[in-house]
Amino acid sequence: MTGGMVQTRATLVERRVIGAVHELRLHDPRLAARLGAGQAVLVRTGWGMIPYLRRSFYPIAIAADSWVLRLPPDGDLGHAWLRLAPEGSELDCLGPVGIGFRLPDGVRRVLALGEGEAAWTLLPVVVEADAFQLAVALAAEVITPRQAIPPARLPAAVEYRLTTVEGGRGRLDAFWAELLPWADVVVAAGSLAFYRRLAEAIREHRFVITRGFAQVLYPATFLCGTGACLACVADVAGGRRRVCLRGPVFDLTDVVSDR
């Protein structure tokens, strides 16, 4: 169930450390009840007001009274603070932001396509589709094996294709011919370049990109989430739109200009 934004104090109840990655589970019933797959949560991090801007997270798991954020290794000061926050810490959260993934009525076969770290943001929609007993395939293209979602993290019925692209690019291309004609709907998370490749592949294997066929998560970092700051704008859907209101999930046809 989703609804308007709320500001909450979430409690850090569990930290999973997997190599250099941290996954934090936040007990946050009010926000969890509103949060949908592909929506963002804005988390205040740090000490005093440093860093000043909230960090945006696309949760990798959503439960009835909690949600999970993932911290890949990076140099961000806000993330560094989250890595050190002790269990029991209270985090100030604002969300959910924007419009997430939607599984339209009548859809039977869901194809989730992820690139690199962003693939993790597909987990909630994959889990949701599986719970609706839809046929789900997840195909992900990662740079290093460390970014990959371990198969054990997926529902048993989900079909999983994984390619590792050290240095090169485009290995997922080998699966396009098999997967794209199969799917009723595509949900994707990655870079704009990834979406352009996806659009090309759809044109190749399905001839046309129908509106409603593919939903993509627009990569936006700092968000106010209210529409006030105009920092999140992107040239999508035929104009300069606020990603935090119109997105972050857009129809693929709105993100890649049709030729």
Partner: protein, 280 residues
């Protein structure tokens, strides 16, 4: 006793509370973060409007700074006609005075919009006019006087914080009903992708500039109300500004970075003000 922002103006601009939501905080009155009640504020100032629509700067637009940020929107806005058509009704029912911020590319733009406002009458309580960073006294005087001639609405003139004392008297003579101090000075910083962005300093680090401008203008005893704006993040910041000569303050980015804190500032400063005031 309400605060009067435009004592020399026939219409007047009384505020219930000394805490305003400044330009950029709540869009055109349509962007409210959760938990914020418009009526907690003495007034709101809209985001800036230009005569014609502007699509603004290409992204990236945001750079995070040490303890702050800079936002370079390039005056992105839907333009005067669309804003007035879209939001007039909202402004009438918001329950709080709405002050429209007018931006101008050409000298005549703002006077044109001010003239139109007299006809369109979209339910606003006043105009805020930001003075660009680099104008000289003659230019400032000319464009404020032109707006003054075009409208009877209360006119809040927003000064660049670092040049506030230099410009203040000229602006009052040209017709400002109140002075907003002010727009923090412009800075440059790389966006996450390395692009150099230029825009006014925003966030807590702007406060020392606001305080300097405020004290310098207060020392001129110009007999117009002063409104402090820029970097106000805590009730203490607001109360310091009120002690140092402001009759009201504007909070801006705090509204979206921490709505609960913004609400707390609005309520606690209002309470402190009401306690000080004989008629509650």
């Amino acid at each position: 006793m309400p605060i009067e922002l435009a004592p020399r103006n026939k219409r007047g601009l009384p505020l219930r509370s000394p805490v305003m939501a400044g330009s950029g905080a709540v869009g055109y009155g349509d962007c409210w973060p959760p938990g914020l009640d418009p009526r907690a504020f003495g007034a709101i100032v809209t985001a800036g409007v230009t005569m014609r629509p502007r699509s603004g700067r290409e992204p990236p637009r945001l750079a995070e700074l040490p303890l702050g940020f800079l936002l370079a929107t390039g005056d992105h806005n839907p333009g005067y006609r669309r804003v007035v058509a879209q939001y007039a009704e909202l402004w009438r029912r918001l329950g709080v005075p709405v002050i429209l911020s007018l931006l101008g590319a050409e000298p005549g733009d703002r006077a044109w919009m001010a003239t139109r406002l007299e006809e369109d009458d979209p339910g606003i309580a006043g105009i805020e006019l930001p003075v660009p960073e680099d104008v000289n006294l003659g230019e400032a005087s000319a464009f404020i006087a032109a707006v003054r001639r075009a409208t009877t609405l209360p006119l809040l003139v927003r000064l660049p914080a670092t040049r506030a004392a230099h410009l203040a008297e000229t602006c009052v003579v040209a017709g400002a009903d109140a002075l907003v101090i002010g727009t923090p000075p412009p800075v440059v910083y790389p966006a996450p992708d390395g692009t150099p962005l230029e825009g006014p300093l925003a966030g807590p680090t702007a406060l020392p500039f606001t305080l300097r401008g405020l004290r310098a203008v207060a020392a001129l005893h110009l007999d117009v109300p002063l409104i402090a704006s820029g970097g106000i993040q805590k009730a203490e910041d607001a109360l310091l500004c009120l002690r140092w000569g402001a009759v009201a303050v504007q909070i801006r980015s705090l509204v979206w970075t921490d709505p609960a804190a913004a609400m707390h500032v609005a309520e606690s400063v209002h309470a402190a003000f009401a306690a000080d005031s004989p008629e509650g």
